[in-house]
Symmetry: C2
Subunit: 267 residues, 2 copies
């Protein structure tokens, strides 16, 4: 048993979609969430900068006595997990492996589409994970850089969202994929539009549930599951003003938990 | 005479549209440009964070022995100029005053529209500047948060850009403005679409030329104009990879000048 919290970080507040699944699946686990709202987005930045930012995010979480770290951000998981595993002793998991495994289980025709930020797609992380799981799988990847700004501006179900999604997804539809990995924490909010374009039979795989299962297994294997009542704390690197609004959007419930600002550039 | 360079900074590379006008109008002036590509965008962040970032940008430029500082970023000019003028001794100019003056000269019916980032619009900077110039002017302001991502993804003249612009600009068109301030360095790239929606008779005022005239006057008044051959250097806070591509987009010419990366979090 280990009642210390799990540290979860994301480039911003999108990772709350992952935190929500952790809360649902592991109701006794306390969570410290850090959203790097002062430096969001990561998806358009260079590999070097993403690694630097992820390292400071981990350094901050380590000051909070966490027992494990979850990288909820698709970009940071794709680009910085290798670095993190080499440089830190604590258990650290990213979203790529578990999400790829869920997609490999879901596909019937072995054609899997991958959508994500520019950083995620150019890393090739999901392709590599899928090939390792099953070398019969063929992949079709597409960066969708406008999806994050669309979601953050509430354009999740209107003509603009549909037109942009059409642009990005047409090549995936033409390639005949039966499964799509939503490789960014913002994309679950566009599921309706994506499903309309791809058709109801296309499986849309997001990171939350697979990640929560992986974390549960990891903690159980190491006898580190918590007992008792979970506590949730949130930290951000810009002011806390927008937290409630965006937090509620991504958590799909009202948030009244404590949220604090930190100066991430010190870590 | 003062042959030291002018320091110019922006949240990213959009400010190159202003640097270009400085180069055209003041061909003897050397320029040190800093684009905060590791922390872009500023327009969606809090007032506190924008001021903190602008201060570090100025601190960096001061290490380069600049004779004056130009804030090319509409958001930083709107939010952080007052702070900068209070805390630094060097001449510092933002884009708001000169752009507002150009708009006040251009309007005939005294109805001026203002578009910019969320940070710029919520600051009310352009409204205040216009009212001070002419209290008969009525203003109609609108944040256009998707314009920057559209431009950065090359969506400057397609159906998506037109649909988003229609959404944002319809209330301005209905209000009968005859002049619009393009309050963000990215927006000149959307001039075609904006003009199509507003009509050819609407004057579109961007920051570059008014700012260059203001800087020329400032330097002349203080006997600080340079002579001889100008030199241009560029610094960014993310890797330099994208500089040539984006730089060419905003400068509308090929860029072969030197560009270096700095760690802005140290300043």
């Amino acid at each position: 048993m280990d009642n210390r919290p799990i540290g979860v970080f994301d480039s911003g507040l999108g990772g709350l979609t992952v935190a929500k699944e952790l809360m649902n699946h592991l109701p006794h686990e306390s969570i410290i969430y850090f959203g790097d709202t002062g430096r969001v987005p990561y998806g358009t930045r260079s590999r070097e900068t993403i690694i630097k930012y992820a390292a400071s995010d981990i350094n901050f979480l380590l000051t909070q006595d966490v027992k494990a770290i979850v990288i909820a951000c698709g970009t940071a998981s794709s680009v910085a997990l290798g670095y993190a595993l080499q440089h830190y002793d604590i258990p650290i998991v990213g979203v790529v492996a578990s999400t790829a495994a869920a997609a490999a289980s879901a596909t019937v025709n072995k054609k899997v589409g991958i959508i994500g930020t520019s950083g995620t797609i150019s890393s090739g992380s999901y392709e590599r994970a899928l090939k390792q799981l099953d070398d019969q799988i063929t992949t079709h990847a597409r960066a969708c850089p406008l999806f994050v700004p669309l979601v953050e501006n509430g354009y999740t179900d209107n003509a603009v969202a549909r037109l942009v999604a059409q642009d990005y997804l047409s090549p995936l539809k033409d390639s005949g994929v039966d499964t799509i990995i939503l490789g960014c924490t913002h994309y679950p909010l566009l599921k309706g539009v994506i499903s309309d374009i791809m058709g109801k039979d296309t499986a849309l795989i997001d990171s939350g549930a697979p990640m929560a299962r992986q974390v549960g297994k990891l903690l159980a294997d190491h006898d580190m599951l918590a007992e008792g009542t979970a506590q949730y704390s949130y930290f951000v690197s810009d002011t806390v003003d927008n937290f409630s609004r965006y937090g509620s959007l991504f958590m799909q419930r009202e948030l009244s938990d404590s949220v604090s600002r930190i100066d991430i550039e010190r870590y």
